[in-house]
């Protein structure tokens, strides 16, 4: 579904990502873990077209995303839930979802309403808050809204940037359960997380990013048991 080859990207002269290669297959949860400033967010922003790759290749369903402008990328089925939610704070919950379904406007009202209904089933709390301004929701509700907004476009792949940031542990658990449910419904998820333990627990495969490079990759269970990963990201030092 997604294939990245030797991608370099960054801001101005700063190379935030160096020679990154990775792939995501349909129906998988793939997680990218790493410390603050490792380049995780830049990598997602590069795939979403917000930052342009200076070299390398990003193929999504066989199409080179490097040649597609950022607002066109959601039309190909590749959407992102940005870090910090980024809901349309001054607009209602329903309007947020309708904007998420913008890429489907050619399919007519019925299709869009069906999709919105599906989001309300997945996130019942949003139905109760339909007419409320998105900015007045709690952090967890805003995260759900941001996810529902992305899903309203009926994407082929959803990228989520740090969905657990700033949320209470109980809410984080709920969010991760929803991600698993999304995968079980056939969605493909690329998940970026600082909360490596939680992310690896639900993911199929993982990549470890450090100072812009992929230093480790493999099945999530292998990474969970990897000693370097445990020491650096899971806060567990094994004493032999």
């Amino acid at each position: 579904m997604l294939k990245i080859r030797n991608v370099e990207s960054g801001y101005g002269k700063i190379r935030a990502i160096r020679q990154v290669s990775m792939h995501v297959e349909p129906g998988e949860i793939v997680t990218i873990i790493g410390a603050n400033g490792a380049g995780k967010t830049t990598l997602l922003a590069t795939i979403a077209g917000l930052v342009k790759a200076s070299s390398g290749e990003i193929l999504f369903g066989g199409q080179n995303l490097g040649a597609v402008s950022a607002p066109k990328i959601p039309f190909l089925g590749c959407v992102m839930v940005p870090e910090g939610r980024q809901v349309f704070a001054t607009m209602s919950v329903e309007e947020n979802l309708l904007l998420g379904a913008h890429v489907l406007h050619k399919e007519g009202r019925a299709a869009v309403e069906g999709l919105l209904e599906h989001q309300y089933q997945l996130f019942p709390v949003l139905r109760d808050r339909k007419t409320q301004l998105a900015g007045t929701l709690s952090g967890g509700e805003q995260q759900m809204l941001a996810m529902a907004r992305a899903l309203s476009s009926r994407p082929k792949m959803v990228m989520m940037d740090e969905p657990s940031t700033g949320l209470a542990p109980l809410i984080v658990k709920e969010i991760f359960q929803i991600i698993v449910r999304l995968r079980d419904e056939g969605n493909t998820v690329l998940l970026v997380e600082q909360n490596a333990k939680a992310a690896l627990a639900i993911a199929d495969r993982g990549y470890v990013l450090e100072t812009g490079k992929v230093i480790l990759q493999g099945p999530a269970s292998d990474l969970l048991n990897n000693r370097d990963v445990q020491r650096a990201y899971l806060g567990r030092e094994k004493i032999d």
Binding site: P74, F75, V79, P82, F88, M91, L99, H102, R149
Partner: protein, 296 residues
């Protein structure tokens, strides 16, 4: 002051006030999608009136106005595409200088095309001396046209932004540009659209006001200052506030004539602008909290 005189002043205030409100809403539309103040806003009003006057020998009045509005919208789109679209993350100061430059350019072009003559469209109904009586005051029917058309425009805009998907997408760009891109909305197209919209509104206002206030190549500057005062007074980006502030400024100006000489009329609005900028930069109707979050 007699009751009749009061109503007379009030109507003069409402007439000018609704024009100021339309110019201010033009500022707001562009500010909301781009975060910049388009100081060429007054030029749209001038262009609308002048083009309609030039077309009048060829076309009947309603058609001349329609074409003038369409041409001004096209000019608005071209302005944005030529001067603004290609800039990457321009600073506020740079944008201000560019829009002032566009304003000077338009004015110079206008003086070459139309000269310095003061012109006017004919009254839509009746002529200069036809009046109708409202509460004892004598009002020109054109005043009702100005107030009516401005009112309809405000209602139309409100419906456009609240009830159409394009309006919703424009608001989304204003609310969160990055999130809008992630939803597949191209903010650049929305910016062009905002210039087209405010150009069209300005042009239509320029046409309906022309019989009363006349049209001249340099009328845009004064209107831009008044409109800007109203936009700030009402809270930048707040169109409901702009209507209230526009009517307020119009009324203050109209009633000031009974107290101070006519020449002070413009000084009053500039004084209000300065006062507001010093004391309440977020406007009377704007919230301080929202203003703090804005970059300008």
């Amino acid at each position: 002051m007699t009751a009749e005189l009061f109503v007379q002043y009030l109507f003069a205030g409402i007439t000018y006030g609704s024009i100021y409100a339309i110019v201010a809403i033009g500022f707001n539309i562009i500010y909301n999608t781009t975060g910049i103040i388009n100081f060429a806003q007054g030029e749209f009003v001038m262009l609308g009136g002048m083009i309609a006057i030039s077309l009048l020998p060829l076309l009947p009045l309603p058609l001349a106005i329609g074409v003038a509005v369409a041409v001004t919208m096209l000019i608005g789109a071209l302005m944005e595409m030529i001067f603004i679209r290609w800039l990457k993350n321009p600073s506020v100061l740079r944008m201000i200088i560019i829009t002032i430059g566009i304003s000077i350019l338009t004015r110079e072009a206008a003086i070459h095309i139309w000269g310095e003559n003061i012109r006017a469209l004919p009254y839509f109904v009746g002529n200069e001396i036809s009046t109708i009586s409202i509460l004892g005051a004598r009002i020109s029917p054109q005043v009702l046209w100005v107030v009516g058309v401005c009112g309809v425009m405000v209602v139309f805009l409100h419906l456009f932004f609240q009830a159409t998907s394009v309006g919703r997408e424009m608001r989304a760009c204003a609310a969160n540009r990055m999130a809008a891109i992630l939803c597949g909305i191209n903010p650049r197209n929305m910016v062009t659209l905002s210039f087209v919209l405010s150009a069209g509104m300005g042009a239509l206002a320029g046409c309906v006001m022309s019989p009363i206030t006349y049209s001249q190549y340099d009328m845009g500057t004064g209107l831009a200052i008044k409109g800007f005062t109203v936009a700030i007074l009402g809270g930048l980006g707040n169109s409901g506030g702009a209507v209230a502030a526009g009517l307020l400024l119009g009324a203050i100006e109209a009633f000031s004539v009974s107290v101070v000489p006519l020449a002070f009329k413009d000084a009053i609005s500039i004084a209000i602008l300065l006062l507001i900028l010093f004391v309440r930069p977020h406007g009377i109707f704007g919230s301080a909290e929202a203003a703090r979050l804005k970059t300008f």
